[in-house]
Every structure is written in C-alpha cells, then in structure tokens.
Symmetry: C2
C-alpha cells in the first residue's frame, strides 16, 4: 500500500458503529437520542426506535414526528412498568421486549437503533447485564450505532460503551411548581 492507501485504511479502521449511553438523573437522555435520530434521518440513515417503558403521556410530539418522517418506532413498554406487582410477568415481558430488540439489532437492516429507557430492565434485574453485554459484543453489526438511554446504566454496560454522557440537573421548573410543557418535555 502507498501512503494514501494506508491513511485510508487507518481511517476506515476507525470508522465504527458507536455504542452510546445517555444516563444520569437529569433531563435530556431521551431528548438527546431524538436529536441524534433527527440528525441520522437527515443523513439518509435507516433508524429504528424501541421504547422499553410505558410513558405517562401517550401521544408525544416525538412519536408523531417519527410517524411523519417514516421512522420505525416500537413501543414495547405498554405491557409493563416498574410499578408492576407481578414480577414474574414483568420479567417475562422484559425478556420478550429484549428478544424483539435483538432481532432488530442482528437484522443488519438499520444504521441506528435507539433502546429508549433500556437501562431500567438491567437495573431492576429483569435482564442480566452480563448476558446482554455478551450478546451485544457478539451480535451487534460493527457499523450499527446503538443508543441506550435511562438512569443508572450498569458499570458493565458503561465499560462496553464507546460514548457515555451523564445528564445532570442543575435546575428544574418542577422544583418551582411549573408543570411539564407539551411539545417541550414530552
């Protein structure tokens, strides 16, 4: 190889699908993932969103926007929340949701997959973190970008990730009794 070819080879080697984690107790974890979704869509990439928990507000702006943009969006969370009292049922549903996600991840049909609020399935022990990380290490297509959001990302997942950001609240209007604003916060 001449020098230019070597440079290209080095560059290509460093181009890879990133595993990105947005964690922390502040706002912006899912929101930043949505920003990346918009950016990826603008680049003509093939994105997919999988939501792992049921949200309180049913018809957020992001679901409507994704629909308009033709972005694939799966809500796995309608079946379980962390308020569930039947832990066996909850774990079974978490396992099913993870199966769906694995199919999407392994399919090779996407450039970007967002696993929204996935960390809670690990945090509450519904899935085994080591098994999840081992599976991702072996099966995630090398060029696929994967974004995982949620509080308390487990250390083994952080170790595996390429880019980890902690969103930390400095000030929040709920502290002063202002209610959540539609279109902005959900």
């Amino acid at each position: 190889m001449n020098e230019e070819q070597q440079q290209t080879a080095r560059r290509e080697k460093r181009k890879k699908g990133l595993v990105i984690i947005n964690t922390g107790t502040g706002k912006g974890k899912t929101t930043a993932a949505l920003g990346t979704l918009l950016r990826a869509w603008g680049r003509g990439m093939r994105p997919c969103v999988i939501q792992f928990l049921k949200h309180e507000a049913g018809g957020w702006g992001e679901v409507r926007a994704a629909h308009e943009l033709g972005i694939e969006w799966h809500k796995m969370g309608d079946g379980f929340t962390w308020q569930s009292r039947d832990m066996d049922e909850t774990a079974a549903k978490a396992t099913h949701a993870w199966e769906v996600a694995r199919d999407k991840i392994a399919s090779g049909a996407y450039d970007l997959i967002i696993l929204d609020e996935f960390t809670y399935l690990l945090k509450f022990g519904w899935l085994d973190t080591d098994e999840v990380v081992d599976w991702l290490r072996e099966n995630k297509p090398p060029m696929l970008h994967l974004i995982i959001t949620g509080r308390d990302a487990p250390p083994a997942l952080v170790d595996f990730a390429d880019l980890v950001t902690d969103m930390h609240k400095i000030k929040h209007p709920f502290d002063e009794g202002v209610r959540a604003q539609s279109g902005i916060e959900f």
Copy 2:
C-alpha cells in the same frame, strides 16, 4: 369561580414558556435541543433555530432534516469563530447576530427558538450577560420556549433560566482514537 374554574386558572398560570439551558463539557447539548425541536415540530409548534458559531462540518444531518421539515434555520456563525484575531470585528458580528435573534424572539412568530452555542458570546464578553438577561426578561413573549446551548453558561443566565442541565462526559470515543461519526455526532 367554581372549583373547576379555579383549577383551570391555576393550571394556566403555571403553563409558561420555559427558558432552558443545556450546558456542560459533555456531548448532547445541541443534540438534546434538536430532540426538543423534533418533538415540538411533531406537536405542530412553530420552531426556529439560530446557530451562533460556525461548525467545522458544513452539511450536518440536522440542517438537512430541518430543511426537509420546513423548519426555519439561521446560521449566524459563518462570519465569526472564536479563533478570530480581530476582536472588534468579532464583537460587531456577535452584536449583529444577537440583533437578529432579538427580532425573532420579540416577533411572537414562534413557539420555540433555539439559540445554539449562544453562551460563547457571553463567555468571551462579545455581549454583556446582564444586558442580555434584562432584555430577555422584558421582551421574551411569555409563552415562547427558549433553548440556549453551549459550555459555561454564565451564572446570571442560569439564575434567569427555568431548566438547566449539565451534560458531563463519562467516556468518549475520541479518547481512544475513534473519529467523529457522520450522522451521529454532526
């Protein structure tokens, strides 16, 4: 007023346009603003983006996506960067950019305005933070949501804001020599 009317009045009183700051040294400040942009667009809100600094990559996904979605997007940063050596010229351009932003903010024509990387104009002293905050306090339409991004948001701006989030890097692929990925990071 009966009880229901009182409740409605209380609710309305608490509905307000938020001043949101995404700051910190980590990733996700602009990205989270873009997520909110997507969400707001999905809700049929009228958003506008003003970029205050020139970015290295010229044709990011977000600009293309915003164009496709018909979202108003102004690049004010083509004229100056913080690498400029002519500080008078830089300050004059910053002042002009802030004039454009004030027109948009005061116009009442938008539900959401993003001032991307605006904090740097304050940090480097190109604009006076107290004057900016005073102007916003008097002229921002009450229902307008305003998002300001950038490192080192000045304390007076943080005091004025409703929601402030600090994005903190835990781990970044640049640390390990992986280059920025198009569609994901720009």
